[in-house]
């Protein structure tokens, strides 16, 4: 059992959890994730390890309530336990040095980007970051990203905060005004696909972290398979980071819709039975 030590809402639907995981904490590296199950009947889902405190034996996860499992997780409180958390999984991010790097985060992807940005910055690279969201209330981790970057640019689709427009608009400007060696992009698939398009044209190496559907997370089921450079790769053990310019984003976007109807049914049932908790979560911040 993995006990929740801290919980804090970063936005109405996004919460940060600090969880006791004494074996995982000292082993976490930027780019790693865990697979967890919220209940005995729960599914296994991957969540990025945002941070860890080896001394305290805890790890930090940031979760947006989108599907049934993440919504259920948001109803958990300090003192509750999560039955299964396994990790760290996935290949850690190779940390370059002496480069100029742009880190692009969209939505809750910013949480996945934060540990990588921090590590790249700590390694002495020049790091520019772009954080985008649909609107102001969905922006998370602005201060943390600012502290881990030489310069931070904010964008919102509706212009309610920072520059109005998409992260790609800001990225295009940066790529023309500065010499950039590598771009890291983590966010919704359409965003990563758009970023990849921009950097491919500009000829800038780009790394994305793919949020494929997973079951075991250890290379045992092939459910997380993605096409990269025309080859089948398993996101959980060969990734989750890949060369963006080789990724078949369209295939992954389609595959990630495999269970959208099941998910709707599951969420609906959950919300009917947890009406009060779900609302509680919304008023909590």
């Amino acid at each position: 059992m993995f006990k929740i030590r801290e919980k804090e809402f970063l936005s109405p639907t996004i919460a940060r959890f600090v969880i006791e995981a004494p074996f995982i904490a000292p082993k976490r590296k930027p780019g790693n994730f865990v697979i967890l199950r919220v209940s005995e009947r729960g599914e296994r889902i991957p969540i990025t390890l945002v941070d860890s405190d080896p001394g305290a034996g805890t790890v930090t996860l940031i979760v947006q309530g989108i599907g049934k499992t993440t919504k259920e997780l948001l109803t958990k409180n300090v003192g509750d336990a999560i039955p299964d958390v396994v990790g760290p999984l996935g290949k850690p991010t190779p940390i370059h040095t002496n480069e100029t790097i742009v880190c692009v985060g969209g939505g809750v992807g910013t949480a996945e980007l934060l540990p990588i940005t921090r590590a790249l910055h700590a390694a002495g690279n020049i790091v520019y970051s772009i954080v985008g969201a649909r609107s102001r209330d969905l922006i998370i981790l602005e201060q943390e990203m600012a502290a881990a970057s030489d310069e931070l640019f904010m964008t919102t689709d509706d212009g309610s905060y920072g520059r109005k427009g998409f992260v790609t608009d800001q990225l295009r400007d940066l790529l023309t005004s500065r010499k950039v060696d590598t771009v890291y992009a983590i966010g919704p698939l359409p965003m990563m696909k758009a970023v990849s398009g921009v950097t491919k044209d500009a000829g800038v190496k780009t790394v994305v972290s793919l949020n494929a559907l997973m079951v075991d997370g250890t290379g045992m089921c092939g459910g997380c398979r993605v096409s990269v450079g025309g080859k089948m790769r398993f996101a959980c053990v060969d990734g989750p980071e890949f060369n963006a310019h080789e990724v078949d984003f369209d295939e992954l976007i389609i595959r990630n819709r495999s269970y959208s109807e099941h998910e709707r049914e599951s969420v609906q049932r959950f919300e009917e039975s947890h009406a009060c908790q779900a609302r509680g979560a919304e008023v909590a911040p």
Partner: protein, 491 residues
Amino acid sequence: MSTANALKPSQRMKIPRAKSAEQDAHERACNFLEVALGFSVEQALSEATRCLECKDPVCMTGCPVNVDIRSFLQLMMVEDYAGAVRKIRESNYLPAICGRVCPQETQCEAVCTMGKKHEPVAIGKLERFVADYESLRGLFVPPAGAPQRAEKVAIVGSGPSGLTCAAELAQKGYQVTVFEALHEVGGVLRYGIPEFRLPRTVLDMEIGRVKDLGVEILTNFVVGMTATLDELMDTWGFSAIYLGTGAGSPSFMEIPGEGLIGVYSANEFLTRVNLMRAYAFPDTDTPVRIGKHVAVIGGGNTAMDAVRTSLRLGAEKAYLVYRRSRTEMPARDEEIHHAEEEGVEFLLLTNPLRILGNEKHEVRGMECQRMELGEPDSSGRRKPVPIPGSEFVLEVETVIEAVGQSPNPIVQSTTPGLKTGRKGVVEVGEKQETSRRGVFAGGDLSRGGATVILAMKDGKTAAAAIDEYLNGKRDLVVVAPETAVPQTARS
């Protein structure tokens, strides 16, 4: 033991082989309850009595772990069923499992003397009977263990190989910890083999017996990631390690259309259903997509399990698509037979070419080609060759591929100096030793995919070698990487 059976051999030969009761084929194709119901006490006694008690019990040599079959059958003849299962457990710690899933027809029963002229003694079903008899009546007594030892041994993977090695070492007094990546214990027995062949309760019972020996099992622990082999030895204080991480990584045919919605590896499909209980969705959270028409590709046990599971999830038509002919199918006879009875349609000598989808990228068909058998290939099996112009489209909404698997990759990629061969199979010597001192390996990990009983055999061999190793003969059992003997895979 002297002859316990008053009947003359000629009389024994006249007794017909007992048939285990089974759930009706139509009924069972809609549920996940066990298909084979097992022998009654009367049937079991009569069947055991058929044993000729050969002076030279060849059945024992047919068993990969050399269960003393004659002795256990003799104990059955005097109705000492609990004694019989204790006899089996001396060489096989998981009898309720092996009695259900071993390919007896190619092992003990294949060489049974009675089988030369008549049907062989139903050794597998009798093994299952005594194991069930003992557990139903609560007659289990843990075997007396050796005095406790100070050394700690780590077992990686809780499949049949790891569990067997753990049980053997615990009985020798060692402090044994099993590390398992998944949230439940059992390996393929848990996530692969369906409940209608191996009920959860039986598996839980057998795992309980291993725990009763004092074995500690840590789930949610991926060796290589949560801790490396070196950390287990240097920081955690384990003196020796057994790797039984299996061959779970699925292969795909690599034909066009595998990225469509509704294409699964059999491992993913079975894991969703067995481990994650997708059959109860939305009462459970893991979904699985099952079309009205399902094609399963392959001819092994995995393919049979996937195709029979599809029927139970409500598929109206379930096809088994296999490149070769029936005689080449590696699945157990009983499973092939059960699949046919349940209405699975076998498309033999048929090879998939590509998977077709609709505008939403969901599977709608699979183009196949007919094959004929040509010259024997390197495995001695006749090689299927395509018949030109024989292409046709099978209308299906789900495609499940059961076309082989290779070792789980994580331990190999995180352990420097661990020698591996083709597809990441870990190379081992005669005593299951690897190229790393103090590290032993076996089961599907070193064989590349085999059977439960061979995985158990490796676990036993390794336990004996680990005991030897920890008793000071440290050089004796460590082969240099160059002399490691690669074992060949059997699919």
